[in-house]
Homo-oligomer: 581 residues x 2
């Protein structure tokens, strides 16, 4: 029976039939690998996700971590699952062999990890954060800190966090007030309060490696005054041995709507022993590496949750008997599976386009990371940069809608906690908020990414989409034309919005811009998939063609309203008088 | 300080400045009333909602009712709140004085009840169902049953339910299998299993009056074989005294995503003593009276939840300091309230149009009930009939989006259970499901309401909207033209969809039709409000004008994509091969 977590068939299609990931093995970095080793890691991921992660997903929601004032209690299945994950080696899946890594392509490691995210987003958050933390330190930290903190993380002994937000400063990092004072011995002492720290406290690992944004005494106001520090929950000796507690206290756990299995903490740092990462004043720049990785991770998580919701809804719709087709309603005719009802099909087909389209985008972005490291680095980095806000926000919005549809397909049952789909929704509802809200992503895209370097990122995106349109077979020429027209419209409206150089007015409808660009990018993903499926027979490929047709005919037309609003130059949202609300 | 539950000012505007509810007091039925008595009931509703309902809203979610095998345990605040509600007399608010009612206009009673729904949707569900149950019985039950069951309900001693769904038959009532056997003494014995029974068991009242759809032995298959029965949880003597238990057992409680404070039960009926309501075979027709009332009640509940979410988000956005305006970002400038950020305004203003537009529609529908009883009955009934699916489904979809926006405006805080907005979302998520899913409402609208009686309902709706457009002052002529164009498009596409008489194909995109018609109707509500506000100065009226502008410029354009899909005649959803999903 097919898994209800993710679709192996779809992953194979995207990785091998579309992205030609097998060809990466000709590059020196991946020379030890082959399609067989990729498949082996995908398979072991599916197995462990199914056996160790999915099995406690519900319990970890119902019996969320709790803090009794002394320690944090977490159901034991979480630790067992993390141990099983660590044993796969995937914690260092895409990292260098030199640090014990597997040197898998990012795109393969991303696909492997999606199994864990779909099976149990809350438990998978611990390794997700640990990997992003380790990656940052591998790039920017001193060698001795890599040995002391990173290697134990990659061995699964330590876990990692990112500590950016503060109670008074969520999205606005320029208001960070946590301060760092040089201790005279090269280390610093950090004091302040950090909020929304996922994995911020627990006893799942020997200690926790916090990456903390703080302001060194005398540093300037704003983001330029921020530096990045390593702060262990415990002091860690040069030999990697965990010593006594550092000045890091759990002030309390946040109790969330979903994602409950991941502890989310308020942490108090008091004269905590801290080690500077890289140079002073460069903290946010370093952190952005981790944040960009985390943003792709958030997009991947949103896709994974939407995907598993879709698969559950699909299975339910094939089994649940209810009602009869509209035409010739005969009360004594047997009821039909609800998948026969057009409106149920609408929800399923829309969801299919969201989750398979979202997965395609996430894997495409992950492959850009590989290109950045082993291919045409400059171009890949630029394209990834412009795509990142979409990779984060589009799945967070639309794959969440797939979770909403999954509830609706299940009817009343979907609204009960006896079925998993309501939890998937609650879990996924975090994704439009953390790692930069969707609103922030819109500002990032329209305010920075498409204008930076004289619009080079947008030009590259448009060129890339047009190339894909040019490669499409004749049967999809209509879709290609729609994409071409969308690209033109996007480029034109971008120029128009910035024509008078007033950011307040240019950005008044940045979310509509993000929506329009996002739907255009996903339409591109569907043309790519349709092209990869062209000429191939059978229901799997028919499904890809069908979904592409649906996306171009039922979804892409949504962009009309967004484009028209942007083209109208309406600045109501910038100009209005708040007193009228 | 303004309430965060509902807006008294907005209710006054809608009731008196727009709907001219004070003029109803010239009609004999309402002759005892005046604006002063209306205001007194509105005020007492606001007070009791604030003091007795809002105060336990969160606790009733966190400590949901539980069944220990013997009885259902509910936190004591619920009973106290219901007692306070009963003391207002609003249980029989719109009913005849002859049965102890207040003879308030429905529109006023609906506005009063919205306070309780906004303050605590779960607790308000008990009286909502009791009132709808009592109304049905007042119309259709025998006199002796009115005395035995209805009067105690209106006194607050008994509560009521509706028992339609069964585990195998949710939306498809033609598959109901619960059976009724005549007992020879005029009563019946009912046996079967009923699912999703809100208020199905508890000890909040002396007994519970279930209205049960069942099939009398020998009745035909399908909905025509359904009869309606009164089944008490206990046997009730002719004197209204509660006797021993009837054959009604609680098989279990459902554990929901939200709406947790309302028990939701699986009930087993075994040879339960039952009394026929009206005639055999007319059960569904009677039940539809209750369902139509309940559908307006669901729409009102969805509006109320969205409204309170909006008010909470608005208050938060005015207080929470974060970031700076985009232009001239100065890191040492003090942070601004987040209401200054255009994207936060977008969410607030969109929400304002959803909840105030939805409230206008719900009150308009309630006034149609009054017109039906004391005015131009035939026309009001027809218009109400065609509007009912929209009154139910539009707020369930869009005011739920207001709850989603309220979470997003709160950022990470909104995702925690320490803030109320996540509960509002979870509570409201039920509304697109119960009392006929939104999908069912789309089929009802396009498949029945706009085609019945040769399209008389649609013609009346279009005429009514056009009259409103004709009344609009010159400053809103642009909106009036958009409404006129929308009406024309709706009428044309309806004719086109039914032109070949194939329901399977006509209904393939019924949800898109419901969406388009719904947005058009709410645009009409906004033109009505703008017209009622015309020429009046001050931020409240400016807010109405601003919201109308937003709805016509940012929201109504959504209809383009829905209309284009409908006009294209696309039948993908009817024709596709399920194996491709």
């Amino acid at each position: 029976m097919a898994s209800s977590i993710l679709s192996q068939r779809d992953l194979e299609f995207l990785l091998y039939e579309w992205l030609d990931v097998a060809a990466l093995t000709t590059r020196p970095r991946f020379a030890e690998h082959s399609r067989e080793t990729f498949d082996a890691f995908l398979q072991v991921s599916a197995q462990i996700a199914e056996r160790e992660f999915a099995t406690h997903n519900r319990r970890n929601d119902a019996e969320e971590p709790r803090f009794d004032g002394g320690r944090v209690h977490i159901i034991p299945e979480v630790k067992a699952a993390l141990t099983a994950f660590n044993d796969t080696g995937l914690l260092a899946g895409s990292m260098d062999e030199a640090v014990g890594g597997l040197q898998l392509p990012h795109v393969v490691a991303r696909a492997c990890f999606a199994w864990f995210q779909a099976a149990n987003i809350a438990t998978s958050a611990y390794p997700l954060l640990t990997m992003a933390n380790a990656n940052l330190l591998l790039t920017h930290a001193a060698e001795e800190h890599v040995a002391r903190f990173v290697e134990p993380m990659l061995e699964g002994r330590f876990t990692g966090t990112m500590c950016l937000s503060e109670p008074q400063a969520g999205s606005s990092l320029s208001d960070v007030t946590t301060r760092a004072v040089p201790a005279g011995d090269g280390s610093y002492r950090v004091t302040g309060s950090k909020m929304w720290i996922s994995g911020g406290d627990h006893e799942l690992s020997e200690t926790i490696v916090h990456l903390v944004l703080a302001r060194v005494t005398g540093a300037p106001a704003g983001v330029k005054g921020l530096s990045l520090f390593i702060v262990g929950k415990h002091l860690v000796g040069g030999d990697g041995r965990v010593g006594e507690r550092n000045g890091v206290e759990l002030a309390g756990l946040n109790h969330k709507m979903g994602f409950r299995g991941t502890t989310n903490a308020v942490l108090s740092f008091t004269d905590s022993e801290a080690y500077l990462v890289g140079e002073e004043g460069r903290g946010l720049a370093y952190m952005f590496q981790m944040m960009n990785e985390a943003r792709i991770g958030v997009g991947a998580g949103a896709v994974a949750l939407g995907y598993t919701g879709y698969l559950h809804a699909l299975a339910y719709a094939r089994e649940r008997l209810q009602g009869r087709p509209v035409a010739g309603k005969d009360p004594v005719a047997p009821p039909v599976p609800i998948i026969r009802h057009p409106d149920v099909r609408r929800m399923l087909l829309a969801s299919k386009t969201y989750v398979e389209g979202g997965l395609a985008l996430v894997l495409y972005a992950a492959k850009l990371v590989d290109e950045q490291e082993t291919g045409d680095a400059a171009e890949a980095a630029l394209l990834l940069d412009v795509l990142t806000p979409i990779v984060k926000a589009w799945p967070a919005q639309w794959c969440l809608l797939a979770n909403d549809h999954a509830i609706q397909v299940h009817g009343g049952y979907g609204y009960t906690r006896e079925y998993p789909v309501e939890q998937f929704y609650r879990d996924n509802r975090l994704n439009p908020i953390h790692e930069g809200t969707d609103g922030i992503q819109g500002l990032d895209l329209l305010g920075r990414k498409v204008v930076m370097r004289d619009g080079a990122g947008l030009k590259l995106l448009v060129r890339t989409i047009r190339e894909a349109a040019g490669r499409a077979p004749a049967e999809f020429a209509g879709y290609a034309r729609l994409l071409e027209a969308g690209c033109e419209r996007l480029a034109e409206v971008t120029a128009k919005l910035w024509s008078d150089g007033d950011p307040e007015r240019a950005l008044a409808n940045s979310t509509a811009y993000l929506n329009a660009a996002g739907h255009l990018v996903i339409a591109w993903m569907w043309l790519e998939q349709a092209t990869a499926a062209a000429g191939k027979p059978g229901p799997f490929y028919d499904g890809k063609r069908l979904a592409a047709r649906y996306f171009f005919t039922h979804e892409l037309p949504r962009t009309t309203a967004w484009f028209e609003l942007l083209e109208s130059g309406d600045t109501l949202l910038a100009d209005l008088d708040d007193a009228c609300l």
